[in-house]
């Protein structure tokens, strides 16, 4: 695998394995993340996979120790194949209610995309997505694999409160708000599933980077039946 290694100040390395948002770059990111986790180098505090990069935060305070880490990572990258398997993560089926207030921007988004709301739902439920990264807020999954015909820019004015479970679109990405947050994504539906549960400290997030996701459409009565807060 080829990677460009950038140093971030004196506490981290940023490994670039591609550009932009594509499945192959994302697959390389997750293969590299797994390899680093298995190698478990000395002094590493955190590994942050993103769309096309992996951040390694370290706590080493000497030039000698950071140089050694740098070298170890360089060798590890060189030993990885350039093509990585894209379908390795755990597959989640996520039920989404796209109707009524749950998909407040669905009608507008459908009209902007020149198709019916039903067509948007059909196309949103069609692909298998990959969790490229988690960021913005704890447990917020950035999914790649969105049908390009559904790509829509963020809202001009972000909402101050987006309800937990809201499923949105921002440019070529789709994602799910794990908790109530401010946000500017176009909201097309909502899932009754809990994506973030701090009471389960061992596994507080339903979705982790590298996991796969399929959406399934449910109606409002099914949503209410499954929503633990109802």
């Amino acid at each position: 695998m080829d990677a460009r290694i950038e140093t971030l100040g004196d506490t981290a390395l940023l490994l670039h394995v591609g550009d932009g948002m594509d499945r192959q770059a994302s697959a390389r990111v997750h293969a590299l993340t797994r390899a680093v986790r298995e190698a478990d180098p000395d002094g590493l505090d955190d590994i942050v996979p993103a769309y096309a990069s992996v951040l390694l935060r370290h706590h080493l305070t000497t030039t000698k120790a950071t140089d050694a880490l740098h070298q170890q990572i360089r060798e590890l990258i060189a030993g990885l194949p350039d093509q990585a398997d894209t379908a390795t993560g755990h597959l989640h089926r996520i039920e989404v209610c796209y109707s009524g207030d749950y998909g407040s921007d669905l009608a507008e988004l459908a009209s902007a995309c020149g198709m019916s709301a039903d067509e948007v739902v059909k196309r949103h439920c069609a692909p298998e997505y990959q969790v490229a990264m988690t960021g913005f807020a704890p447990g917020f999954p950035y999914l790649i694999g969105l049908d390009p015909a559904l790509a829509t820019p963020r809202r001009d004015t972000p909402r101050t409160r987006v309800p937990a479970g809201s499923v949105g679109i921002a440019g070529p990405q789709t994602g799910i708000y794990p908790s109530e947050l401010p946000g500017g994504w176009q909201l097309i539906g909502r899932t009754p599933l809990r994506l973030l549960d701090a009471d389960h400290a061992d596994q507080p997030c339903l979705l982790e980077p590298g996991d796969r996701v399929r959406f399934e459409s449910i109606d409002a009565s099914q949503f209410k039946h499954r929503d633990p807060s109802c």
Binding site: T11, I47, A50, Y51, L55, F136, F140
Partner: protein, 320 residues
Amino acid sequence: MLTIKQPGPLTTLQDLGRNGSAHLGIGHAGAADQPALRLANALVGNPASACALEATLLGPSLIFDHDVVVAVTGAPLSKARIGDQPLPPWQAVHVPSGTPLTLGPMAHGCRSYLAVAGGIDVPCWRQSRSTDINAGLGPIPRALEAGDTLPIGHTTSKLPADVDWSLDPRPWFQASTSHRIRLLPGSHAERLDAASRERLVNESFRIGNDSNRVGLRLEGPHLALDDALEMTSEGVVAGTMQLPPGGQPIIMGCEHPVTGGYPRIAHVCAVDLPVLAQCRPGDTVTFEWIDKAGAMELLATREDALEHLVDRIRERLEQA
């Protein structure tokens, strides 16, 4: 047991921070001024990783239901009292059961630390007792409030009844409202236009009012890139200086989001992060470039001095 009487505007539980959860979007948090926390813990015979209180601008008032030993470090609390007696800073101090401890306002700086012998003994949440205020996570996922009660851990260290020595705070806290911060170039430093490159190191910036543990907003000179950059989100660290399109840089704080999508023009070197932690809104900062070898040497020297001091404190506590 410790009971909060008045919490102050933002008093939270903090330790050395949370590692190993950033891939889930769960950040590091932890004490903003880590040397101050480590020294407060050392003074009361705690391990560096013990949990303490981090106060912001105005300290809390609290009371204990048994005799304890405490130490305060960080920003100076010139009006701090035990009952009606002054509380000496950077020193182990006995606080009798039922005597109110009032920390009061900070004369300079932004954050003070109160360590209690035995540590604040709440359970860990994902390997840390730190509160992440912005995410609302941690064993206590919010700022402390009046009436909160916190368990104190058992301490094995025997503290002498008459500790009459204190640390010299000068290497660890600068009582100033203008700060000089050293920067390592970020990957997009060279994309700054020529005028902005000059401004970054030749002009001073004001710490914005909406700065907090998540980030410091810099006001003043406007910075711009030669050409706009298309970026996807990438990991960032505490100290990363990002440049949003508005032209006012933001420096990531101890509770920063794990990823960022703005150009990274610089990184505050790790040795200066505690200085940044003590910047309050309205303070001014100036920047200068440093190279990585120089930054790492400063950090190694600081760590040696800190570890040496912690060892000396332990020896003195054991001798007494």
